[in-house]
Structure formats: structure tokens, C-alpha cells
Amino acid sequence: MGVRLIGEPFDPWDLVRKREQVLPMEKLGAASVFVGRMRDFNDDRDVRGMFLEHYPGMTERELERIVAEAESRWPSITCEVAHRIGAVDPADTLVLVAVWSAHRIAARDACAEILERLKHEATFWKRERLTDGSEQWVEKNTPGH
């Protein structure tokens, strides 16, 4: 399991590649990866920037719990999860969920499940900065399934 909070811009594909360098890739026929990025719009608002607040200590624990529960449900998987914290610009990566497995169904299902649980359980809160300089908290995430 790899879970990390990152306070500056990062390249998700670099994280994925680095993790693969220490995995037995000849055993892992499937990799399912989700990358979420900051858009410069949300609903009908133009968004210029964002701040990602978290609950130090609890956020890491929640991410580790979510991944551990996925690994217990799909024992064959290997996971890498990263989440941005702090001040974020449009197009920056907010979240990476990468799941490797021998077979595609476990990788795909576990990747989707980890992302949905992260979005509804992990203690992050987004505050948007709009083009007029005002700021507002995002009220809630949209359901994913």
C-alpha cells in the first residue's frame, strides 16, 4: 500500500511509473488508474484557484483504511493513492488512484471503489477562489455510482 498527501504540484504518471519499478510487472496484467484534476469551472462558476483543507492525522488514517479495506476485498491488488493538499491551480492533479492486479476486473472495480470512498469519506474540503476574487466552500461531491 502506498498512500501520500502532497503539498505541491506533482506528476501522477511519474508516481505510477516509479511504483511500477518496484512491482513484479510480469505478474500484474492490469493497471487501472484514475487521475482527478482541478477544473477551471464547477457547475456554472469560473474557478481561478482552490485550497484543499484536510484533517492532519485523520486524513492519512482514512486513506489507509480505505485502501486496506479494498485490499481485503480484492486480495490480489496493489494500490497507490496520492492526494494534493493546500493551494491548487487549475489543471493541477488533485488525486491519483492506481490499482494493479493480475486481472482487469479486480483492478477496475477496486480503482472505482477506492475513488468513491475517498470522495465521500476522506476528510478533505475544497474552498474555491472565483474570478471576482471571492471564495466559497464546495458544498458536496456528486455521487459517482
Binding site: 484533517y55 482514512e62 475513488l115 470522495k119 476528510t123 474540503w125 466552500w137
Partner: protein, 77 residues
């Protein structure tokens, strides 16, 4: 009984502080009781809570030394 309370995100901003300290001898047994004791009103709708950095419900019991957090719905990812 002493309980440390933390607030996050919009709730922290609305309350104007990062946390509170609760020191009581009786009448505070659950997460909801902690909120009521501090704010003299029922918890607002959609309030989320944690006890010792694990998600909790309003009827989750609290004990001496616990860290209780209140926050709005999470919006990560």
C-alpha cells in the same frame, strides 16, 4: 471529563475558531452531547463528526481524553 474539540472548513470559519475544550463532570455522553454542551442547540443538518480521528455518528459515545471533530460533508478527490 476533558474533551478536545476541533472544527474544520466552513464550520471552522463560521464559528470563528479552530476548536474548543470541554471539561464536564456529567451529562455529556455522546458526540451530540458535546455539540449541545458547546453550542446550546441541536447539531445542524449534514454535520459530520469524528472521535479520535475515526468517523463517528451523533450517538457515538465519548470518553475522557477523546479528540472530537465536527465538519461539513467532505469534498476531496
Amino acid at each position: 471529563m476533558t474533551i478536545t474539540v476541533q472544527y474544520f472548513a466552513r464550520l471552522r470559519e463560521d464559528l470563528g475558531r479552530e476548536g474548543d475544550q470541554v471539561t464536564v463532570t456529567e451529562g455529556v455522553g455522546t458526540v451530540a452531547d458535546v455539540w449541545m454542551y458547546l453550542h446550546r442547540e441541536a447539531p445542524p443538518p449534514r454535520l459530520m463528526a469524528a472521535v479520535n480521528q475515526s468517523h463517528a455518528r451523533l450517538d457515538t459515545p465519548v470518553a475522557d481524553g477523546d479528540e472530537v471533530a465536527f465538519f461539513p460533508p467532505v469534498t476531496g478527490g
